[in-house]
């Protein structure tokens, strides 16, 4: 087990991961010669940073580019342009986008990923020993008896019995499979984990088990998470800061409590108003967005949200707003970010919960 305090040796003010102007355009090809006729701007100028030991939540609706952002961090797909700075314990501060194949392999010891679908992300023909041991073998960290010991340790860590090592994934339930995926991700003792919707395929009672496990492991191993999800209640529970994405762009970034109490972007407000609450008492009128999410292949002019925004003015139709810091640590991409007073998911924090 690594020392959870291993981060103390490094510079704490500097983010562990910093994403600058990240773009990922997918070409649209048509016709016999597969001519490029346009681009789907899945990720368009994303700026984010993640501090050591924290959890950054990334929320947004389907197609907004949150998964694509996560995959770029691992170089699972090639970014079109931009920089992803990562403080690697062995390589030093590197731009993941510029690394050679061999260096990417080295970085992936420290940057790992957990996937959404526990049924699709495990090879049914491999035993747990092979699955969890695969990254250790590939990176030359352990082999033979040592490998088995390490796999046993990982299984114990995620709450599975080491005796299950010789079994195949089909023998396990959804929640247990997600634990296996977690063991595989954490086997090389990484520092940064991209969690791509890790609980959205699970039942509520199992979801709570996995969320608690993620928190415990973060504590024990000193992990940093980029937590991608569409469920705002889950994100509020686990994250220290939250970034909201809309059509390939981050529209708001703030500490969790601040974002949920006083959002500054109209899209964040609408998103929060839409959360179904497990509370039968009547509540204020919810904001219903009209129209549909803009297409990332053919986005509207100006601010991408203006056709659905009830606060839109002329400037919103023509000029794209900048991503500005309106209060310490609170960034908004809206022309009226400083002026609007919007309703959050909860009113002023009252303690009579």
């Amino acid at each position: 087990m690594p020392d959870p305090e291993r981060r103390s040796q490094s510079n704490l003010d500097e983010p562990l991961l910093e994403i600058k102007d990240l773009k990922k355009y997918f070409p649209i090809r048509r016709g016999f010669f597969k001519r490029v006729v346009g681009h789907v701007k899945a990720v368009d100028d994303v700026d984010l940073y993640v501090m050591e030991g924290e959890t950054l939540g990334l929320v947004g609706e389907s197609g907004c580019g949150k998964t694509t952002t996560g995959r770029c961090v691992l170089r699972a797909i090639e970014p079109t342009s931009g920089q992803i700075w990562f403080r690697d314990p062995n390589l030093g501060r590197v731009d993941i986008c510029q690394l050679t194949k061999e260096q990417v392999r080295q970085v992936r010891r420290n940057v790992r990923m957990i996937f959404q679908d526990p049924y699709a992300s495990l090879n049914p023909r491999m035993t747990l020993l092979d699955i969890v041991g695969a990254p250790l073998r590939a990176m030359g960290i352990a082999r033979g008896k040592e490998l088995e010991d390490r796999v046993a340790e990982m299984l114990r860590l995620v709450g599975l019995r080491p005796e299950y090592m010789r079994r195949y994934p089909h023998a396990f339930s959804g929640g247990q499979r997600q634990r296996i995926g977690l063991a595989r991700a954490l086997a090389p003792y990484p520092r940064f984990v991209v969690c791509d919707e890790p609980v959205s395929a699970l039942d509520v009672s199992v979801q709570a088990q996995i969320l608690n496990l993620l928190k415990d492991l973060q504590e024990q191993m000193g992990l940093t998470y980029l937590f991608i999800a569409h469920d705002l209640s889950v994100v509020a529970h686990i994250s220290d800061r939250v970034a909201v994405m809309y059509v390939g762009k981050v529209v708001e970034l703030a500490p969790t409590a601040e974002l949920f109490v006083s959002p500054k972007h109209p899209y964040t407000e609408a998103l929060m108003s839409a959360i179904p609450r497990p509370d039968p008492r009547p509540r204020e009128k919810r904001i219903l967005l009209t129209g549909e999410v803009a297409s990332p292949a053919n986005p509207p002019s100006g601010c991408y949200f203006h056709p659905r925004c009830s606060y839109a003015a002329d400037i919103c139709r023509t000029d794209e707003p900048a991503f500005e810091e309106v209060s310490p640590g609170h960034y908004v991409k809206c022309h009226f970010g400083r002026e609007l007073s919007l309703t959050g998911a909860i009113r002023v924090p009252s303690l009579d919960v």
């Binding site: 929640g175 039942d203 709570a208 209640s233 839409a274 497990p278 919810r286 303690l351």
Partner: protein, 346 residues
């Protein structure tokens, strides 16, 4: 017949649906009692595999083989079309699943909206053809008139430009629009009961909010009852008047929506409510080490048959010698609040 009985639309009594598989018998529905009242919404909550969808499919006699209704009754108090007071009772479980009578009910008086709007529609026929199919089958109208009604239904579910969309294929619509079209299809014959099986699970939150709002206003307009199946407790709180919580093929608790959230009694219901992250608490108590409460263990293997209460291996209030031996009674604690648990037995 008394006033309250008059209000009942569907009554499910001791329903058992079993799947006979090579590995053994799966008791998907194992003694369910439920009542659906006219113009009301009954929410059915439970985790995957608890039998909520199979209960719904039994209502339409669509249980897929090798599943079979073994025992029990589903009484449908059919209001006569012209005169709302005249009621004749149909026992749905006694009908031939391929017979004329059930086909007259299915899609007409009781219709269903499925979870996946992608797979609920045929990809090779237009939206209009699919809506008109139900109208022509159940109502004596000409093709032109059916088309008229289909356009009217599409307008009702607030699809912009219905005259154009009616000739579109499903793949040309977005997920939210497709779910609206499926709802239009289900409501085209003005059913008495709409069964909605996780209709918004595949949708984004803002789209979900639009669909929920639409379903509520259509319910008010058309005066139908809704059986709303979901695993999302937040959605239930918004949609339902009455809630039934299911676990392993049984209804463990049933009461009105306020009581289920403010005064849940069954240990499973309480565990379920405690295990969802509450926004307010996450924000107010920003303590980083705060954990969610969880239900221990997991849903047992479907082939096993537990003695006594099926929840006992996971129950925090487990009483040895009682819960693992005797079947818990269905206890009435207060008006209309039923709990299937030994803790509340007198």
């Amino acid at each position: 017949m008394t006033e309250s009985e008059n209000n009942v639309l569907v009554e499910i009594k001791d329903l058992h649906v079993h799947f006979h598989l090579a590995e053994g018998i799966v008791r998907a529905v194992d003694g369910v009692d439920l009542t659906i009242r006219r113009r009301q919404t009954l929410g059915i909550v439970g985790e995957s595999g608890c039998g909520k969808s199979i209960t719904a499919l039994s209502l339409l006699r669509l249980v897929p083989p090798p599943g079979r209704i073994e025992r029990g009754e589903i009484l449908y108090y059919r209001p006569a079309r012209a005169n709302g007071n005249m009621v004749d009772v149909v026992n749905i479980t006694a009908l031939d699943p391929r017979g004329r009578e059930i086909r007259d009910i299915r899609g007409n008086q009781i219709s269903m909206v499925f979870q996946e709007p992608m797979t609920a529609m045929s990809p090779v026929r237009t939206v209009g053809q699919q809506i008109m199919e139900a109208i022509i089958l159940h109502q004596k109208v000409s093709k032109a008139e059916a088309r008229e009604r289909a356009i009217e239904m599409l307008a009702r579910v607030k699809i912009p430009k219905p005259e154009q969309v009616i000739d579109d294929f499903p793949f040309q619509l977005s997920g939210g629009m497709r779910q609206r079209a499926v709802i239009a299809m289900a409501l085209s014959c003005h059913p008495h009961l709409l069964i909605a099986d996780e209709p918004t699970t595949a949708l984004d939150v803002t789209t979900e909010a639009q669909i929920l709002d639409l379903m509520r206003s259509l319910q008010r307009e058309l005066g139908m009852a809704i059986m709303y199946i979901t695993h999302n407790l937040g959605v239930v709180a918004e949609m339902a008047e009455e809630v039934a919580v299911m676990y392993l093929g049984r209804v463990v608790e049933q009461t009105d929506v306020k009581t289920i959230f403010l005064n849940p009694l069954h240990p499973y219901t309480r565990g379920l409510l405690a295990s969802i992250p509450h926004l307010d608490e996450s924000i107010v108590r920003s303590d980083r080490k705060r954990r969610l409460q969880m239900i221990q263990g997991m849903v047992p293997d479907p082939y096993s048959r537990l003695r006594g209460c099926t929840f006992h291996p996971r129950c925090p209030d487990f009483i040895a010698g009682l819960c693992d031996q005797a079947e818990p009674p269905n206890v009435a604690v207060g008006s209309g609040h039923l709990v299937r648990c030994h803790l509340y037995a007198k």
